[in-house]
Subunit: 330 residues, 2 copies
């Protein structure tokens, strides 16, 4: 039983066991792309892909299927759009045992045209991301991707700001959708473990008997990205997002090098991830900034979007006490 008295998956295992249902999705290039306008070069993308293959990571997410009507091609790198030719060029034709994924944002994806039929694409998984007011559109996107032959996830974002009865209504319709997986998403890095347990129980309860899996995507604003991922696992989540070195917008994500060691599935190997960190990810710190810092802590504690904290660090030379004072003003 959890602290909240909700039942936990009987198969959750113990410290020395592992749960074969658990699959890990690397979103280094997708979430990290939010830091550099999706401008990673092919060598970096290929290095992450090869690392996923060597480390036994189940899925790799390449970026977004951004609409070229909304976003200018010359203002973003290729992983904002994930054109088929860009993906094929970067990952090559190697038959690596890593499924490929993109994220499709509600209202920002021309999904009917830009998501190709499954047989015409290197992609395996479409992850539809939406806010709660976009659920009807998201459900149409889920159906579209499912009908085209893909495995489909639905990521309901910013749920830490959603009222509970609205969430119940959303989960009721999501449960009827074609999505194989529903993600609990801590967009603002605001959740504590007891909330993770309560929400995982709610999501699982809504989807009971549908066969859907529960996923979790955390952020590290309060140094809880990895910790909350562990709590989601304990609470029954079997699909886990993480990134190499925690690379991701703002405070970043759950570091995959921490997660793989926790999971103990012999399929997963830490050493290739350390190699990738040494050779590819840590050198990015010369030109990209990410990870826990005080301004992200403050937006996380206040359950707010990290944009003001990102702006604070972009401006440079800020005064963290002044930032705090501004954030807590009414």
């Amino acid at each position: 039983m959890t602290e909240n008295g909700t039942p936990i998956d009987k198969d959750k295992g113990t410290w020395v066991t592992w749960r074969p249902e658990i699959k890990v999705l690397d979103c280094t290039v997708r979430d990290g792309g939010l830091v550099n306008d999706h401008a990673f070069d092919d060598a970096l993308v290929r290095a992450v892909y090869d690392t996923c293959a060597a480390a036994g990571i189940d899925y790799m997410e390449l970026g977004y299927k951004g609409s070229e009507r909304i976003f200018a091609r010359d203002e973003f790198g290729p992983w904002k759009f994930c054109r088929e030719e860009d993906m094929r060029r970067a990952v090559g034709d190697s038959p690596a045992d890593v499924k490929l994924s993109v994220m499709a944002d509600a209202e920002r994806t021309d999904y009917k045209t830009d998501i190709l039929p499954f047989d015409d694409s290197v992609l395996d998984l479409i992850r539809v991301a939406c806010y709660i007011h976009q659920i009807p559109l998201a459900l149409d996107m889920v159906k579209d991707a499912h009908d085209k032959g893909y495995e489909v996830c639905l990521n309901l974002m910013a749920v830490s700001t959603v009222h509970e009865n609205d969430l119940d209504d959303a989960l009721a319709v999501i449960a009827q959708s074609e999505a194989e997986t529903i993600y609990l998403v801590d967009s603002y890095g605001a959740f504590y473990s007891e909330e993770i347990h309560a929400l995982c129980a709610k999501y699982l309860d809504a989807c009971r008997s549908t066969g859907k899996q529960l996923g979790f995507h955390g952020h590290n604003n309060q140094q809880l990205g990895y910790a909350n991922t562990i709590e989601a696992i304990v609470a029954g989540a079997n699909r886990l997002d993480a990134t190499i070195g925690g690379l991701g917008r703002g405070a970043g994500n759950c570091p995959i090098e921490l997660l793989l060691a926790f999971l103990k599935n012999p399929r997963y190997r830490l050493r290739p991830v350390l190699q990738c960190l040494r050779d590819h990810i840590l050198p990015l710190r010369k030109t990209m900034s990410w990870g826990y810092d005080l301004a992200y802590m403050i937006t996380g504690q206040l359950n707010q979007h990290p944009r003001s904290a990102i702006q604070y660090y972009d401006d440079g030379d800020g005064d963290i006490v002044e930032f705090y004072d501004e954030m807590i003003e009414a």
Copy 2:
């Protein structure tokens, strides 16, 4: 109930409440002293003291009562020894509502002579620290400090490497001691939340009906220093160690700026801590290194003392993959 089916303090509260029994101990100068051989200048010590007063932090730990027969005065700063005159000079005579503490290591403290009678000292709390084979000595140190008039804690270190039946034996005698508080200490940053819950339950069970409080001291090797402190709170711990900016040996400690926001006790104020970070702690990064990094992650995952990781970073220019290979060699 926890995941382990153990009972939880009925008074643990909810997200919007706070538990008045909880007290926070700042060990910035003590644990941070392990990074710079306890050589903080008086201004830094005074700044932390004033911050604790302004932020409502209950205790501040100044350092160790190291034996001058064992440790040379000229090889360490004053906070290795915490002579009465040094403490009085640094904190002054201001009647701040912050209790003062030192740590007394078993076998490294001339406790009978160097710990003065309570009325002759600025100290309020003596924290006896020991490994499990030092329990008999530690119990004599606890009695000595108690008889001299102090509040006393017992910190049993490196418990992640202690066999469970030995721990049961230790807790049985500790329960009979004069210590008001027993600390669960995650010396190597190796514990996951389920272990925290199980061990807190074990400690509380051993001390039931003695009126002792349970404390928790974490380390951040796996980015779980703060998260495990939250879990210890949920499991009933009422005495919590933390440091400003997480300053501490190796991966550092639970950051007090995260903890205070979680606790929600109106006594605690975040703003003075942010001021201290800006003006005193973050500038230390020019000459001191601490905080989560990959080599500390590896020693934490392997449940080992961080000394090899500290050496790795002291040497500089290391190869993290080679470090990993060395660490997992038999």
